[in-house]
């Protein structure tokens, strides 16, 4: 079932000295229960596409539909809170909150009571394969892999069924890359999430159900 439909989307912005066309009439779609990999060179527009899918900004032209509804007309804060979660290459954890508090954050935003939020957060941390000792650690005390897994645990805790991951293994070693890949596949295939993965890693991309390749802001699709 098609969860996300991208229709003729263009996105441009003004850099310091010039206008940058990051996306040029991109059209694609994303179904539930599948893992999508978007690959391409740096500056090809793949992370921009991911941010637009997360509703962090709106396309300059074209439309993004979420379950058939124009994202531009939706409450994008609620969309991110309830449906879409984003995992970033640089993790973007709150530095002054512990791992547990970081994972609890989206639950508390939804109004889940403290004790319940804590229980669910601990479940998510366990799903991400993190040891219990990490619960009280601050991000700066963790390795990159651990931080990324906390970020994924936070995304899982949000309980949205759209998971958007931007270079989730970019800063990780091979072992951690495998763990993260496994987690993303699990989300897609077992939980039925729509998982969109932006990556440079062909190894990781090969694990995806569908691969999109981007070049100069344009998109091509390669079904496996």
């Amino acid at each position: 079932m098609e969860r996300i439909k991208v229709e003729d989307v263009s996105y441009s912005y003004i850099s310091k000295y010039q206008k940058i066309d990051a996306l040029r009439q991109v059209s694609c779609s994303f179904d539930e229960g599948k893992l999508y990999a978007v690959i391409g060179e740096s500056g090809s527009g793949k992370s921009t596409l991911l941010s637009l899918l997360a509703g962090l900004d709106l396309p300059s032209e074209g439309t993004i539909y979420i379950d058939g509804e124009d994202l531009a007309s939706m409450d994008r804060d609620a969309y991110r809170r309830d449906k879409a979660s984003v995992v970033y290459q640089s993790f973007h954890l709150f530095p002054l909150l512990t791992a547990l508090e970081n994972v609890m954050y989206p639950l508390e935003l939804k109004g889940v009571p403290g004790r319940e939020a804590r229980r669910r957060a601990m479940d998510c941390i366990a799903q991400a394969g993190l040891p219990e000792k990490i619960l009280r650690q601050y991000p700066k005390m963790m390795s990159g892999g651990e931080q990324q897994r906390v970020a994924i645990a936070r995304a899982l805790a949000a309980e949205g069924d759209i998971l958007l991951a931007d270079e989730p293994t970019g800063n990780l070693d091979t072992e951690n890359e495998e763990i993260i890949a496994g987690l993303l596949l699990e989300c897609a295939h077992e939980k039925g999430y729509t998982v969109v993965l932006v990556t440079h890693s062909l190894e990781l991309a090969r694990k995806a159900d569908v691969i999109y390749r981007m070049k100069d802001g344009r998109m091509m699709r390669y079904d496996r």
């Binding site: 912005y13 940058i20 990051a22 090809s44 909150l97």
Partner: protein, 623 residues
């Protein structure tokens, strides 16, 4: 949840949080002290301004000197007397120049003479009695005299046929009379009776050892004294009285009546008292310098001055002589107005003074009352110095009334006129404006005028006042600047540098409002605690600071010509002043101001953060 997380994150940066708290506390305290000192200074400056008055006097100097030829009967030749002239009289209007910021414009003070027929007037002679004086003086005598031989009155021996006024003991026999300064003295015929007013003078023929001539008296030339308000002498039908032959029915003639008026005028003159109309007691030097002060009752109020109430102040001497008390009424028939010497120089005979002019007008008539009202005595004043001629003395019998209470027109009752002098022209300017006034005055080129100021030491204090004003201003400005800088710095640290946190929160679905609450709540709660503590500290510090400031002012006053006060009194004043300034209110105001400022500054930073889309805040533009 959001607030809790905000506070949690602040708690985990304890050093930064503590520094922010103490800086906000210090800034608020400084601001509170600045506000309170500013208020205290404003209050003390206001009180100082009320306590001081700057008045100026104007004196027109004589410009030219000339010699007047005066006939001397003894020398049978003219003698020359130096005489100084004012030239053109400068009018008060000429002092109304641009930039002269008068509180009270220069005005030539007039004083009035009230004929008090039934009152007892105080005099330097304790047993003073008007009738006795008139009978015993040898200063001025009016007689009918008969010459023994026909001859010119320069001198001539006469027999006193009738004493009309004066010391009768002196006139049992003959005497010599002389029209001493007249180059063309009258010829008096033997056997005829002449009326003349004579007086004893050192300018006479013979010596004290010359028994025959020792008693020589000189013949007066009596003129009228009536002037226009502009100071010009009024010419009328009255012709100078010197010597007139007394024939049958003489006193029924116009000339004879004028002689009778002169006799009455002498009596009236010694029974008049000076009445000084003023618009403020400060304009009377006696009250300004505290030589005179109200001992019983009260001063005339500003409202009474403004409305021209019929109220008055009388001297304790006059009140005592006449059994007057506060609340009694006094009828004042005003018969003449004078612009020359001040009221204080006019003392009834025996005190060395007299009315500043003859009390007969240009028609030879006695002046009648131009204004007559009953005044209520509201205060009885006393004075420390009573020397005749003392700059700030008041007349023994001087009555002070509101200027506006005199409604009668005295323009036909002016017996003396003079240009502006220190005794008749005063004005008031704002405290501390003497220098700027004089700078502008000098550009007028009125070099014949001398301006003298009395400010009771205000100028000496002015620098101290200005220093205090600057100190409190610096504290206020410093506190404000420090507050802004602290808030800007920490606004930057807590908000601008937390863009990433905002972006993460937004990417997790927190609304813009939620993001604002998340970032601002902790900071504003900390600010609230800081300003409360700072406000309290500021209020406490104010009391100490105010005490120091007032102690300084005590020393300032000690060396000024203002009123002296003891250190205890200064301390008590400081406490009173501090109470009036309400340090707690100042602390609260500072706290409120800092909190509002903090809200505004942090709100501004926050708005800038929220303007940017999370995409821009996070990354990815550089793909």
């Amino acid at each position: 949840m959001i607030v809790r997380n905000s506070l949690r994150q602040m708690r985990r940066t304890p050093l930064r949080t503590a520094v922010f708290f103490f800086l906000i506390l210090a800034a608020t305290a400084m601001l509170a002290v600045g506000i309170n000192l500013w208020n205290i200074n404003r209050e003390s400056i206001r009180e100082l301004e009320q306590g001081f008055t700057t008045i100026g006097t104007v004196e027109q100097r004589r410009e030219t000197s000339s010699y007047e030829a005066v006939w001397d009967a003894r020398e049978k030749d003219y003698t020359y007397r130096a005489q100084q002239d004012y030239g053109r009289w400068v009018s008060t209007e000429e002092l109304d120049f641009e930039g002269a910021d008068y509180i009270i414009k220069p005005e030539r003070k007039v004083f009035f003479g009230a004929y008090m027929e039934d009152s007892v007037l105080y005099n330097v002679q304790p047993d003073y009695d008007t009738d006795y004086y008139l009978e015993s003086t040898n200063q001025q005598i009016t007689v009918e005299a008969v010459p023994y031989e026909t001859g010119v009155a320069a001198p001539i021996k006469v027999k006193v046929a009738r004493l009309l006024e004066g010391n009768e003991n002196l006139f049992l026999g003959d005497l010599w009379v002389c029209d001493h300064y007249n180059p063309d003295p009258p010829v008096l015929e033997a056997g005829k009776r002449y009326i003349m007013c004579i007086y004893s003078s050192p300018d006479r023929h013979g010596t004290d050892n010359d028994a025959d001539l020792a008693g020589e008296y000189q013949i007066s030339h009596i003129t009228c004294d009536q002037y226009t308000p502009e100071g010009e002498k009024v010419e009328g039908s009255f012709e100078e009285l010197s010597v007139d032959e007394v024939t049958e029915g003489f006193y029924e003639t116009e000339r004879g009546q004028q002689w009778l008026n002169i006799l009455d005028e002498n009596y009236i003159a010694v029974n008049t008292i000076p009445v000084q109309p003023v618009s403020s007691l400060d304009l009377l030097l006696g009250f300004y310098t505290d030589n005179a002060s109200v001992q019983k009752g009260r001063e005339i109020t500003e409202e009474e001055f403004a409305s021209g109430e019929d109220v008055c102040l009388v001297s304790d001497l006059f009140a005592r002589m006449n059994g007057l008390e506060v609340g009694d009424e006094l009828r004042l028939p005003l018969i003449y107005a004078a612009y020359t010497s001040p009221a204080q120089s006019y003392l009834p005979s025996g005190g060395g003074g007299a009315p500043p002019g003859r009390l007969i007008n240009a028609q030879g008539e006695l002046y009648d009352a131009f204004d007559e009202d009953t005044y209520k005595i509201v205060g009885i004043y006393t004075q420390k110095i009573r020397q005749d001629g003392a700059r700030d003395a008041l007349g023994f019998n001087e009555v002070i009334v509101p200027e506006r209470s005199v409604e009668g027109d005295w323009s036909d009752h002016i017996v003396s006129a003079a240009p502006m002098s220190a005794s008749n022209t005063t004005f008031q300017i704002p405290n501390g404006s003497i220098r700027s006034y004089m700078e502008k005055f000098r550009t007028l080129g009125l070099d014949q005028l001398e301006i003298r100021f009395y400010d009771d030491g205000y100028t000496d204090l002015e620098e101290g006042i200005e220093n205090r004003r600057i100190t409190s201003g610096v504290l206020l400005a410093g506190g404000s600047l420090m507050t802004v800088l602290v808030l800007a710095l920490f606004g930057h640290l807590y908000i601008s540098r937390q863009e990433r946190r905002t972006a993460i929160e937004r990417s997790l679905g927190l609304t813009k409002k939620g993001c604002a609450v998340s970032l601002l709540s902790g900071m504003l709660l900390l600010t609230a605690a800081g300003v409360l503590a700072g406000g309290c500290a500021g209020a406490l510090l104010t009391e100490a600071a105010a005490g120091q400031t007032e102690a300084g002012s005590f020393h300032d006053i000690m060396f000024s010509s203002g009123a002296l006060e003891t250190e205890e009194e200064a301390g008590a004043e400081a406490q009173e002043m501090t109470k009036k300034s309400q340090p707690a209110a100042g602390g609260a105001a500072a706290a409120a101001a800092v909190f509002v400022l903090a809200s505004a500054i942090t709100g501004g930073f926050m708005r800038r953060n929220l303007k940017r889309e999370p995409l821009a805040l996070l990354e990815n533009y550089d793909e």
